[in-house]
């Protein structure tokens, strides 16, 4: 008789029939990532508003995917962007290439480059996915393509109305 074997096999199925669902109807319902999740980057500012990034290209040098492009330039009186002599005139991250390894963040000598938990990075053209300095700087709003109604905490124990702190926890 093969019945015991069949029942043994079905045990997993039967147990899961009564468990809660893992899937949720994204994007209306979504789950916040864990705080140390490595999502898209931001460029920080100093408290006085100057950019922390000095355009040193160390992040670009560290990047294994060659996703970062930086061109430095000199701060001039009347056109100061960062403390010191050098700032990033062009700063771009190509999210078609980035593998979210975080090596760039480790390389950054000024802690200008940080990662958020934002993972919604999609677009309709390649150009859309090359983020410029204007999009990456910390005070630029993080844009989401869809409205989210309900957001779960990372362990899904709490459920809250979305919209208060977005995704950058």
């Amino acid at each position: 008789m093969a019945l015991p074997e069949i029942l043994t096999g079905m045990r997993v199925v039967i147990r899961n029939v009564f468990k809660g669902k893992e899937t949720m109807s994204y994007p209306e319902v979504r789950r916040q990532p864990w705080p140390r999740f490595k999502g898209r980057h931001v460029l920080e500012r100093h408290p006085d508003g100057l950019e922390k990034c000095i355009g040193c290209e160390l992040c670009a040098g560290a990047c294994p995917a060659d996703a970062i492009y930086v061109v430095g330039a000199e701060n001039k009186p009347g056109a100061r962007f960062s403390p010191g002599e050098r700032y990033a005139q062009i700063y771009q991250i190509n999210y078609l290439r980035c593998i979210f390894c975080g090596l760039c963040v480790e390389a950054c000598p000024t802690e200008a480059l940080l990662m958020t938990t934002e993972y919604e990075i999609s677009g309709t053209s390649r150009d859309d996915l090359v983020y410029t300095k204007e999009q990456l700087i910390v005070d630029a709003p993080i844009q989401r393509h869809w409205d989210t109604k309900i957001e779960y905490s990372p362990d899904r124990t709490t459920k809250q109305k979305a919209g208060r702190d977005g995704a950058s926890s």
Binding site: C56, G61, E74, G84, E85
Partner: protein, 852 residues
């Protein structure tokens, strides 16, 4: 166990034989033992001030600096035992005490000997917690150099370079003790023609380049070896690009040519390559006199149509073309079009290069001496333009020959040259009397210092002067002794054009042509008179450069169909009928032949803009349309043709041009290489590769990183020596052979009025390439006229006045400068701010008057 020319010593347990007198640091390096260093540089004398290179020598109580210790027989040296390692760590800890944490913003970061050596030999941490010494950062000490004193490690390299090599000590150590710092004197600018070399040799980021400031980091760069495209010294350089733009040129050492140095024109004059004004597509003058973009096929077909059917054609080539272009142009003109009216002398129109051969000074219309012969010469005679302005690195070599090798330098010139300061004898010739002064040399006080071996340096002086007479006189001087000649034509391509027979009376391989054709002046005259159907100009801006601007202008308006191959829409180009875009030096594979006839290779780094092509490809296409298919598709094809047709170039091995020279053993025990135990670790140094992530790449492959370690070392100077072209085997042409190249050189009659005019090039001018080079174009100075004090007194002129200079109905207002110049002579520079000297140089004499 040693004989006289070899001693045996032991370094880190390995025995090595070396020439006595060599420095320990060099011998160790060739063995593969890198001794860390800051102050030592193979191109300069050792001073042993940085103490980084201390090594243990058995039997010596104290550590000795390897950079100033000559090897001795039986020496037992250790660079890796506790004592030496302690010293290295200690020195680095001290150096870093006051060194700012600037690496992320420092232009040297990533290729910095201080970084590399600290990483390899440093202590790993510092015990110093007090505040660091600070200075004001980023001082712009000239238009080209930025100084950051905080980063300086006081190695004296820049100071020694300025003093020892360039001879203009603009940069100095000031103050003493902990306040010692590098500064220019009294805040005067670092106004040297060679200042860029201090940037390249500074072992930290204390001296950095202003044009390259924050433009790229080393890991962004693609680089390829090349040759400077300006003057005929032909200094090898590396071109480096970021995002397909040329962003930096640095000296590539060659012990035969430039040692380790280049001038600031070669280093900073590269922006023209990426100028927006470059021509990118063939242009044709349309019906309403406006240029229209056309296709290559259309443009070439139109040119070919004009060239067919016995058209009367004149061909003029400018001085910045490669040897391959020269061969193609000569072949197109002589074999396909069938004209002998072809010349490559534009600014130097009429210069009697062929006379150098005819006078017996050299078996070719070019140098018989090499640049390094200067160092072994007993006597050097200089008769030519001011080398510091016209051939800057040759000036360094001349200076080194006199000051380091005790050559006797005799300068014959009607005006003070930069050489006068260290020349053994200065012979101030009369205005227009250079030939006579040369003839009288043997009866002058200089005669005592004339001995063999002798090198006679000659370069064309100024339009209208009797250069043929000068060369004849030099021939007489040289005939009596063991003399060689160093012939100095002006531009990077000039000698290659002569070698390839782009000359009315010479064929390729320095064969005298049976029937000489017209020279530049005669071609332009024919065009002006309407006796030419087509004028083909290859990189020749005749309006700007030909000594008679008026004639050039009339030639372009004389009804000939003018076809120009150019980089830029120059004044000449915009007056032509068809304009064909050319590739620039960084965009092409080719060779330049320098003034000692050394052939050196350019490797392409960039794509030419638009559809611009190399001039030789244009010639190939035209020849095909005219019914002669040469079958050339590549650089190699051109050279196969050259080697089988040009008798002086049969031996040139083009593979050897780009191969690495013989190098010492590649094992490195310490230095920049990875830990050898590390799997896959590669070895830096001669014959080796640089570790991955640090300028990796296969040597000499185009587009790969050229593995020039930032730290220039002796063995790198032997990497790409280039090849000196052969000389014709046949007998020398007899001196009675007719000289056809006298051009406008008419001896100056005693009775003529006015002043004898000398015109000469300054290092920075408003030439096409420099005026498009953003870093240099502001440096061109105000035009001036140099005048003898007595003459000035008679004309009631004094320093700084404005004088009206008139010649042939044109006039210019120029600032008067009193100078050490023969009476009756005046000097004006070419193409300084807003002034084209060739509006005046059409006449051999000018008149001067006070501006009222």
């Amino acid at each position: 166990m040693s004989d006289n020319d070899s001693v045996t010593l032991t370094i880190n347990g390995r025995e090595v034989a070396a020439e006595p007198g060599r420095l320990l640091i060099d011998v160790a390096e060739e063995l593969g033992v890198f001794v860390p260093r800051f102050c030592y540089h193979p191109g300069m004398k050792p001073v042993a001030v940085c103490r980084m290179c201390l090594v243990q020598i058995e039997g010596q109580r104290k550590l000795q600096p390897a950079c100033s210790t000559p090897v001795a027989d039986g020496m037992v040296v250790n660079t890796q035992e506790a004592g030496a390692v302690d010293a290295q760590e200690g020195m680095l800890e001290f150096l870093l005490i006051n060194h700012p944490l600037d690496c992320p913003i420092c232009d040297r970061g990533g290729e910095c000997p201080l970084q590399d050596q600290t990483y390899k030999h440093g202590p790993g941490s510092s015990r110093y917690v007090e505040p660091k010494r600070t200075y004001e950062k980023a001082l712009e000490i000239s238009d080209l150099v930025v100084l950051d004193r905080e980063r300086c490690v006081l190695c004296w390299r820049c100071v020694r370079f300025s003093d020892e090599i360039a001879g203009d000590a603009f940069i100095q150590l000031v103050d003493r003790g902990p306040g010692t710092q590098i500064l220019t004197f009294n805040d005067e600018p670092f106004d040297s023609y060679f200042s860029g070399n201090t940037i390249q040799i500074c072992p930290v980021g204390a001296l950095t380049s202003k044009p390259y400031r924050f433009v790229a980091r080393p890991w962004d760069l693609k680089s390829a070896p090349s040759v400077c495209s300006y003057c005929s010294v032909g200094c090898p350089i590396t071109n480096e690009s970021r995002d397909e733009k040329l962003v930096r040129c640095q000296a590539l050492p060659n012990e035969n040519v430039n040692d380790f140095w280049i001038c600031d024109k070669g280093r900073f004059g590269y922006h023209y390559v990426d100028s927006d004004e470059r021509l990118t597509a063939p242009l044709e003058r349309g019906a309403n006199d406006e240029f229209q973009d056309v296709s290559w096929d259309h443009a070439l077909e139109r040119v070919a149509a004009k060239l067919r059917d016995g058209a009367r054609v004149g061909v003029i080539a400018g001085g910045h073309l490669t040897t391959e272009d020269a061969w193609a142009i000569g072949k197109l003109a002589k074999n396909v079009i069938g004209t002998r009216d072809v010349d490559s002398r534009v600014a130097d129109a009429g210069a009697p290069y062929a006379d150098v051969m005819i006078s017996g000074l050299s078996p070719a219309a070019g140098s018989s001496a090499t640049i390094n012969d200067l160092a072994t010469a007993r006597t050097i005679v200089w008769m030519g333009p001011d080398p510091k302005e016209a051939l800057p690195v040759l000036y360094l070599k001349l200076r080194g020959a006199v000051l380091d090798h005790n050559a006797k330098l005799i300068v014959v010139s009607p005006r003070r040259l930069s050489l006068d300061g260290f020349a053994t004898h200065v012979v101030r010739s009369e205005a227009g009397g250079e030939a006579r002064a040369v003839d009288e040399l043997m009866s002058s006080p200089a005669a005592d210092d004339i001995g063999d071996p002798m090198v006679i340096c000659w370069g064309p002086s100024s339009p209208g002067r009797d250069d043929a007479g000068v060369v004849a006189a030099l021939g007489r001087l040289g005939a009596a002794r063991d003399a060689k000649v160093l012939m100095c034509p002006p531009h990077s391509g000039s000698q290659g054009l002569l070698d390839m027979g782009v000359h009315p009376s010479l064929d390729a391989g320095h064969e005298t042509a049976a029937e000489p054709g017209r020279d530049t002046r005669a071609i332009l005259q024919a065009a002006a008179d309407g006796r030419l159907d087509v004028l083909l100009l290859f990189g020749a801006d005749v309006i700007a450069d030909f000594p008679d601007a008026d004639l050039a202008g009339r030639a372009l308006g004389g009804g000939a169909h003018v076809v120009t191959v150019e980089l830029f829409p120059t004044e000449t180009a915009t007056r032509s009928d068809v304009l064909l875009p050319s590739a620039a030096f960084a965009e092409r594979e080719g060779t330049f032949t320098n003034l000692e006839r050394r052939i050196q290779k350019l490797e392409p780094l960039l794509e030419a803009p638009g559809v611009a092509r190399e001039p030789w490809r244009i010639c190939v296409a035209l020849a095909r349309l005219l019914g002669d298919d040469w079958g050339w598709h590549s650089f190699v094809d051109v050279w196969n043709d050259i080697r089988s047709n040009v008798r002086t170039h049969t031996e040139v091995d083009i593979d050897a041009l780009s191969a690495r020279g013989p190098t010492p053993a590649p094992q490195y025990e310490s230095g920049y290489e990875k830990d050898p135990s590390h799997s896959g670790g590669v070895v830096a140094g001669p014959g080796g590769q640089y570790p991955k992530g640090y300028r990796s790449g296969t040597p000499f492959q185009t587009g790969q990183n050229w593995p020039l370690s930032w730290e220039l070392r002796g063995f790198e100077a032997r990497q790409r020596p280039g090849i000196v072209a052969g000389t014709p085997n046949g007998a020398r042409p007899s001196p009675s052979g007719s000289t056809t190249s006298t051009g406008s050189a008419a001896p100056d009659g005693e009775s003529a009025d006015g002043f004898v005019l000398y015109a000469g090039r300054m290092i920075y001018d408003e030439g096409t390439m420099i005026s498009k080079s953003t870093a240099l174009r502001h440096i061109a100075r105000r035009p001036f006229v140099e005048l003898n004090e007595e003459d000035a007194k008679e004309l009631e002129l004094s320093e700084g006045d404005e004088a009206v200079v008139r010649a042939n109905g044109t006039e210019a207002r120029l600032e008067v400068r009193l100078a050490d110049i023969a009476r009756g002579a005046v000097f004006i520079p070419y193409d300084q701010k807003g002034f084209r000297a060739n509006t005046l140089t059409s006449a051999p004499r000018v008149t001067l008057a006070r501006d009222l």
